[in-house]
Subunit: 286 residues, 2 copies
């Protein structure tokens, strides 16, 4: 069974739209997301366009601030301080990557944790690690858990989740989210011995390594749920650019009971969860 991220993301956005409507009616608050884009990275422009479109579709206020490639770190920090104090702005997102002369870590720390809808600020990472209620959690990991639940139901307790990859953006936070769901969690990576047999233990297998088609059918237990976070560009036999995940979808889909495709799996969930975080940030303001 294919777990359709587009459908699940649309359902989530429909729910968010209703909640945004309620927040307006009951508290006269319209959640606002401000996206800051520095420089001319073409891929970033596409992402930002999608974010803005979906933000307005659920009834939130979307603002976009475009800055020149030559913007200094100090200028960007000053802008963020202003947004931190702007009560109409509930979520702030600085589109990554930033130009090389700007330190990303410094910028992430310049957004107050309460408006850090990417969930990258160390305070939010700490709240996630400690299981505190107030955490704004990174978006892609949230999407992975929602998709797993879409296939397996709400109760993931006791299932063995094997996460391949240990990045700060996906691998580590998604491990903690499955741990919160009472899963046994194994974090594997490039230094792990016998990766295939670790993966074969998984009831839920999350691939987040950025290696095209790495996970093969004989790495996957029959009936497992497979969440593919990878987004890799490869050149196919016709010499054309093709988007593939970290999982060999054609083969693994014969073994897994549920699997997310690439594209159309985890990808669409990321922006939907960004909007979820923005709504949450707006509600915490009440």
């Amino acid at each position: 069974m294919i777990i359709d991220g587009k459908v699940v993301a649309q359902e989530l956005r429909n729910e968010l739209k209703l909640e945004v409507q309620q927040l307006k009616e009951q508290h006269n608050i319209t959640p606002g997301l401000t996206v800051v884009l520095v420089g001319d990275d073409p891929a970033s422009h596409v992402y930002v366009r999608n974010k803005i479109k979906q933000t307005t579709e659920v009834g939130m206020i979307s603002k976009e601030i475009r800055l020149a490639q030559t913007t200094t770190e100090a200028e960007l920090i000053e802008l963020l301080h202003g947004l931190n104090h702007d009560h109409s702005v509930h979520g702030i997102l600085v589109q990554l990557p930033l130009p090389k002369h700007i330190n990303e870590q410094v910028i992430i720390t310049s957004i107050i944790p309460e408006k850090d809808v990417d969930g990258f600020h160390a305070m939010n990472s700490g709240h996630l690690l400690n299981g505190d209620a107030g955490a704004l959690v990174p978006c892609t990991p949230q999407g992975c858990v929602i998709l797993a639940k879409q296939h397996l139901g709400e109760d993931l307790s006791g299932k063995h989740a094997v996460i391949v990859g240990r990045s700060n953006i996906v691998g580590k936070p998604v491990s903690l989210l499955f741990l919160q769901e009472n899963c046994t969690v194994t974090i594997a990576h490039s230094r792990s011995a016998d990766l295939p047999s670790l993966c074969r233990q998984a009831d839920i297998l999350v691939a987040a390594v950025g290696r095209p088609l790495m996970i093969k059918a004989d790495w996957v237990k029959s009936g497992a749920t497979v969440i593919d976070v990878g987004i890799n560009h490869i050149t196919n036999e016709q010499g054309k650019d093709k988007l593939v995940g970290d999982v060999d979808f054609d083969e693994v889909s014969k073994v897994a009971s549920g699997i997310t495709p690439v594209p159309g799996g985890v990808g669409p969930m990321t922006i939907a969860c960004l909007l979820k975080n923005t709504l949450r940030a707006a509600k915490q303001n009440l």
Copy 2:
């Protein structure tokens, strides 16, 4: 082989003593640790006495502040604000547990992260999760990794560490530390299915659940390294109180290649690592 925490902790304290001496000579700074104790918990008084003794033995300045059981949360916060601004204080530790009318989370957050030598502040948890260099890391987890390295050598890369228990104080942070050491990491807990066979995969098995003698010999792979964080009081056959770990030491020690005893294993490492954090906090001040 028994991994002797008392010996390893003494060696660490000897190293720290030299570093403290150097810091005095080169920068005229003497690291200072202030311990705040609220109320009359007898066990806490024993811990605090040990901390003070060891702090002064390595040449640091030890201060103890005792407050009445009736101290309010606001009074304690005001005290901590003063210590936050006191340049002679590099590390602040509020002995837990606190009286029930004081919110521990609020108190932990009232210590600035730079002086939070327990490593419990959300900023330090976040830095640990993200692998940032500046983190002050909880003491007991640090002790576990040092003891594992004592037996296995510095390079733990590729080893499978299985952590039983997922507390904020031990299970989760120790998992992240072994991940930083390039181990494959499995976090198991009370909801895990087939705990024995999960444990049997471990090259390094860390027991941190608080269940006396839970880990049996047939849960342990031959030649594994076993780190026992449990401290449990039981009544032995003679009706006397006895301290035991989470591991059935007598049986498991026949299977493991290295094992920490209780008492005398992880316990002594905790204070030594607290002093390590205090030195680190003092050096970050340079």
